[in-house]
Symmetry: C2
Subunit: 284 residues, 2 copies
């Protein structure tokens, strides 16, 4: 097991907003903290300033507390690239702003990765700042598959008005298997155009992992993927060291985390997802 | 000036053989050592073992010497990827082995970069292990241009049999400006083919910086480039942090340092060379 081998894990999180639930969930993770480094990148914006303040306060509490509860190292970066100011859900998702937004996210992820990855890290866990609930054994579980890249299935809790009860629904559609239609669209596109998954205007008919969740299924079920999201993805550090980054420019008509999966594959690695292993996104 | 601003420089060198002249030249560089970190990657091979032994001995001498002469940090990595065993000049250069060799070099450079680059580095100087002579002000000179990427002109000293005297000749042809012919070749190529510069079998008619050296010219003359070599190249750390790495796979039909230049350009940066600023390659 990874912890017995003293394998070091670097958890990387781009942070536009600080969620207390994210931090509490992080603190509940049971992987030994002396083997865990954290890295954050916060945009230079008003929202970023606020997030940074909360993050620093939370960190201080842990890192000045009991020695055995401290993380081995924490890096915080500010992001110099421009950041879209408006962050309401609607404005974030409009197809036309996605390209710029995702390119900007790719730059942030790359800065964080290139600056925080050291020579001794075995695994990099990408964990978004709005992932508010995961199994406490998240690190061990993802590492146990021993895959170059493995992505959890990102769902969201919500109140189902019809059923009048708490329910769950798919949130992240960036974990997918390429389709004939997707390949055809890419082929017919201009060099600089990109495909972003999850928009009706751009139906790819890709197989989306989000739809493969089976509440009775085995948590360890793996499926091979061609694209991943960034919600909760475990990457062998050597995949990044070989050069796999988050393309901010169209790479086979893909960018950011989806382009990263393609790049990992170009480097000869396989990419997997865990349809029955859920992590939960904040519900605003 | 960079040194007054306390800008940190990371010098990265892939090392298949240790040259004492390289080390002596490195020690002659006048940039303040407390601002200089070094990073090396040595292949896991017999040659690599020997190079590592010599390198470690040389490092020990400096780092256990006077405090003010020590480098701020030194990282040594071993390279896990396969390495071509034969390293005689002829076998290294045959066109057919270039693709595999350069892909392997790209993996080595990426490992070194991803592992050694920290959050505080301002500049990354790529300096090959067989560069045995440079101006002692190499770091200051290259940094002074304040360009995202700037490459020195790599020559070689040799004995000119005709003239019966010591002379110099171009060595590295990887610093170039793209040509119509180069673009046309790329367009007509299969997706996975690459162009490597400097082979008669593959005439690109690119403008090669190697031929632009003017012994009476200004050392500071800049020319914009599309491809660079790795002999002595200064890169703003933020160019790497944005994601610019050394593609081990064909990227616009280019790989390794030449692919890196293309990637820097895709990220919106300009790439330059200094035709009249010479560094010298070992002559075997
Ligand atoms: N550094 C940085 N992080 C960001 C920025 N925008 C979003 N993030 C973070 O990146 C992750 C994904 O972004 P998010 O807005 O949640 O995307 P969505 O859930 O796919 O709509 C989250 O961890 C955000 O906190 C940004 O401009 N800069
Ligand atoms: N880590 C590593 N370094 C290498 C390997 N092959 C060459 N190098 C180094 O990479 C740089 C460029 O390689 P070199 O053989 O000099 O290429 P050339 O001068 O273009 O023929 C030099 O610093 C070499 O010491 C390898 O397999 N692994
Ligand atoms: Mn989110
Ligand atoms: Mn050489």
């Amino acid at each position: 097991m990874a912890a017995y081998n003293k394998e070091k894990v670097l958890i990387l999180t781009p942070v536009s907003r600080f969620y207390n639930e994210y931090w509490q969930n992080l603190l509940r993770l049971t992987y030994p903290r002396e083997l865990v480094e954290l890295g954050f990148i916060v945009p230079r914006s008003k929202d970023g300033d606020l997030a940074l303040k909360k993050l620093e306060k939370a960190i201080k509490q842990v890192q000045t507390g009991k020695k055995e509860n401290r993380f081995s190292k924490i890096t915080i970066l500010r992001q110099d690239t421009e950041s879209l100011q408006e962050q309401s859900e609607k404005s974030r998702h409009a197809l036309k702003v996605q390209k710029e937004r995702r390119a900007n996210m790719a730059l942030a992820r790359n800065s964080l990765l290139f600056s925080a990855l050291g020579p001794y890290t075995s695994w990099v866990l990408w964990l978004d700042s709005d992932i508010v609930e995961t199994p406490p054994t998240l690190v061990q579980d993802l590492v146990s598959h021993d895959k170059p890249v493995v992505s959890a299935n990102c769902y969201q809790r919500y109140y189902n008005e019809e059923k009048k009860e708490q329910d769950i629904r798919p949130y992240d559609y960036n974990n997918w298997v390429e389709s004939e239609q997707g390949l055809k669209m890419a082929e017919e596109m201009a060099d600089d155009e990109i495909i972003v998954e999850g928009y009706a205007e751009m139906a790819t008919y890709r197989v989306l992992m989000a739809h493969f969740y089976d509440s009775n299924g085995d948590q360890n079920t793996l499926m091979e993927l061609d694209g991943v999201g960034g919600a909760a993805v475990m990457v062998k550090a050597d995949v990044h060291r070989d050069g796999a980054m988050f393309p901010p420019f169209p790479f086979y008509h893909l960018i950011e985390t989806e382009g990263f999966a393609k790049m990992a594959k170009r480097l000869g690695y396989q990419v997997f997802g865990l349809p029955n292993y859920l992590v939960y996104h904040y519900n605003e």
